[in-house]
């Protein structure tokens, strides 16, 4: 068949060439040599051609191996499809997923809401138009279709209209390719520059309550300063008072580095001393001799501290006085009782807190015989010298010299001043003190405008000495005053003891006459003191070994005590009207309590180390149960009184213990009455 077809093709080829005569003329049919020679009859034979759907190229005898039968079997049906041309296109159907997605994307991008609306309205119109048409056409039963068709048309419309406004380029999803180009990156280089760092210091501070307080206080001070400057120019005295331990204030004018530590140094010195004398300090505070319970009315004196200074080594203690304001401070006057060996004098002030070194040291040319500290101004110390001068030292000022001094011009005594005592300020508020001396004068010194002005109060006269002397040649022998004491309440009254052994009761207002005279002793009266409670009672002691207690209304003494040795000093106890202490030259301290034992001392104790030392003075501390005792070697010993020596009246059951001067007075009165009765009887 195929051959026949070919032949026909050739023939047809020649038949076609009608119009191309040129072709046929030149071209002659060439018979191939292997062509079949056919007869005409064979040539006119008709062959039928059938057009079938069979693929002439498809194989007709495909065999496949059948595992079931184990042979090759021909396949019955062979695929007759012949693919002439295939091309992969990029059209996607609208209804497919991808198509819908693209359509949706296009709609969004175009922003085709309005157009949609328009479309919708059109669609509605269309719908309306079409619906009636459709309804006419198909009566009712196929109402579903028309809406669907309408919907399709609507959709078509929708599809149509959005395409119109949008004109942007669509990225070709299939042939889209990124192109990038990179410029040359320059190499990065770091550039730095550094300055010199500023100098740094560490600063730290705390914001505490007290820092804030300090700031406020400083601010206040500044304000006050400016105010002061506006008003007057008053020197501001710096007060560094921390605790009550600190003594009198001092003006800080030094700018030297090390001197600013003075305060701290003082405190540390006391601490160091406290450590060294710790047991003593403990004893002082807390020790009470338990053995007193068994001792039955006897008491003892416990030695505490010993004060001594090298500079005052060879000087005797001539005066002792406790400071009225600071209870641990006491003043010691050094001098000499020896007529032949007179040298310099010293005034030392010790504190119990520092037994090794005095707080204040003053030196004088002449021996100090007596001293007294002012009650209201505890920084003023009045001092009487052996050469008859009196002086006032001001502890507030750091001078080594006394602030005020008497001189021969200003009426100093011509003999040693044996006692000085501060008095109340006079009418013009001037400071005023009295002094008594062996020259027989009792002088009142007043501090008027920084000068000492003296006034002779009394001249002591010895009575009954003018005998066998005609008038005109009457020698007024002057009595030598050795001690005096002022009455606590009756201001103008005072007692003077003399070298002759007499005691005169005098008044400040009467300068020539004595109020009374007592024949007290056989030798010089060393001390006279009024009883701190009982206004009538006073006591005197003398080198004639006796201590006598008097009632100033009665000429004879109430009590007499013989102590076997010259009595240097007596002192009443500040806590009881019946207790007093006496010191003798044999180094013993005698403590008496009249309420317990009227005739004997309840304590009789040698206090000084060496037997040859004489005790010269004794003083009770106004607050603490201690006494200080000074001797002629310049040592001061502090002793604690045991409980027996400080006995208070026992409280009766149910009654309250009355404390106070009234009780003391009553106590003493009782005793005195006993004595008086006895006297009256005898």
């Amino acid at each position: 068949m195929g051959r026949g077809a070919r032949k026909r093709d050739d023939d047809s080829g020649t038949e076609v060439g009608e119009g191309t005569d040129e072709w046929t003329q030149s071209k002659a049919t060439v018979r191939p040599p292997d062509q079949l020679d056919l007869t005409d009859a064979e040539l006119k034979e008709e062959f039928t051609r059938i057009l079938t759907a069979n693929n002439p190229h498809a194989p007709q005898n495909i065999v496949r191996y059948s595992f079931k039968e184990g042979t090759y079997k021909p396949i019955g049906f062979v695929n007759q499809m012949a693919v002439h041309f295939s091309q992969v296109g990029n059209l996607i159907p609208k209804d497919s997923d991808e198509g819908r997605r693209q359509h949706y994307r296009d709609e969004l991008a175009a922003g085709s809401l309005e157009s949609v609306k328009a479309v919708l309205s059109d669609a509605e119109i269309l719908e309306e138009d079409e619906e009636p048409k459709e309804v006419e056409m198909e009566a009712g039963s196929q109402t579903e279709l028309p809406p669907a068709e309408v919907a399709e048309t609507v959709i078509e419309e929708e599809l149509m209209t959005p395409k119109q406004p949008k004109e942007r380029k669509l990225t070709n999803q299939f042939n889209f390719s990124d192109r990038a180009s990179q410029t040359l990156n320059h190499p990065v280089r770091d550039r730095e520059c550094q300055m010199e760092p500023p100098p740094r210091t560490n600063f730290s501070a705390t914001a505490n309550q007290w820092e804030i307080y300090d700031a406020y206080v400083e601010e206040l001070k500044k304000q006050e300063k400016t105010k002061e400057k506006e008003k007057t120019k008053t020197p501001v005295a710096k007060k560094t008072g921390k605790m009550a331990m600190r003594k009198l204030t001092s003006m800080e004018s030094q700018s030297d580095d090390i001197t600013k530590v003075s305060q701290a140094a003082k405190i540390v010195e006391r601490m160091v001393n406290q450590n060294t004398y710790d047991d003593v300090a403990q004893d002082f505070k807390y020790y009470e001799d338990a053995a007193d319970e068994y001792r039955d009315q006897e008491g003892t004196l416990l030695p505490l501290w010993k004060f001594q200074n090298d500079k005052a080594k060879r000087l005797a203690v001539t005066a002792l006085c406790w400071n009225p304001k600071y209870n641990d401070l006491f003043a010691v006057g050094h001098g000499s009782y020896d007529f032949m060996k007179q040298s310099r004098g010293m005034l030392l002030l010790y504190s119990l807190k520092n037994p090794s070194f005095p707080e204040y040291i003053f030196s004088s040319e002449s021996g100090i015989m007596c001293l007294d500290i002012h009650v209201d101004h505890p920084y003023l110390v009045a001092v009487g010298h052996y050469d008859g001068n009196v002086a006032i030292y001001n502890l507030k000022k750091p001078q080594a010299q006394p602030s005020f001094r008497s001189s021969p011009k200003s009426g100093k005594h011509t003999d040693p001043v044996w006692q000085v005592k501060w008095q109340k300020d006079d009418m013009d508020h001037n400071l005023n003190f009295f002094s008594v001396s062996s020259d027989g004068r009792i002088v009142s010194w007043t501090l008027v405008k920084s000068e000492l002005v003296h006034t002779d109060v009394i001249k002591l006269k010895v009575e009954g000495s003018t005998t066998d002397v005609p008038e005109g040649l009457q020698l007024h022998t002057v009595g030598c005053g050795t001690a005096f004491d002022f009455h606590k309440e009756i201001d103008y009254m005072f007692l003077v003891g003399t070298e002759e052994g007499k005691i005169y009761k005098c008044s400040k207002s009467y300068s020539s006459q004595f109020l009374d005279t007592y024949d007290a002793h056989n030798m010089a009266v060393d001390a006279v003191t009024w009883n701190p409670y009982h206004t009538k009672v006073f006591m005197s002691c003398s080198s004639d070994w006796t201590v006598k207690i008097w009632d100033h209304t009665i000429k004879t003494p109430m009590f007499i005590y013989d102590l076997n040795s010259a009595v240097g000093d007596v002192a009443w106890a500040p806590y009881s009207s019946t207790v007093f202490a006496a010191v003798t030259t044999d180094g013993k301290v005698h403590v008496f309590d009249l309420a317990i034992n009227k005739y004997e001392a309840i304590c009789n104790q040698p206090v000084v180390a060496r037997k040859k030392t004489k005790i010269t003075h004794v003083e009770f501390n106004p607050i603490y149960p201690i006494i200080i005792v000074g001797d002629d070697r310049g040592h001061i010993t502090c002793l604690k009184l045991s409980p027996n020596l400080r006995k208070m009246p026992k409280e009766k059951k149910g009654q309250e213990v009355q404390k106070g001067p009234a009780v003391e007075i009553a106590k003493l009165d009782k005793l005195l009455n006993l004595v008086r009765e006895v006297k009256i009887k005898t």
Binding site: K260, A264, I267
Partner: protein
Amino acid sequence: MTEVEETLKRIQSHKGVIGTMVVNAEGIPIRTTLDNSTTVQYAGLLHQLTIKAKSTIRDIDPQNDLTFLRIRSKKHEIMVAPDKEYLLIVIQNPCE
């Protein structure tokens, strides 16, 4: 010699005192009787302690102030007295 110098001298010669030193407000020792290393050590440590103690006291009551500080140890006692600008430290062996 000034009074303060005398006082310091007395303290140093007192019974049982091992050493004394004066330290300024920054903890730098100004004056000492001990060797350098010990001094520096004491100064630094005690300075801080004093500040702390002072702060404690004043925190409780700003009107109060530290007067001195005593530290007693087995071997000896260290006493510190602060001043406005200086600190005085004394080491003593309390005789018992």
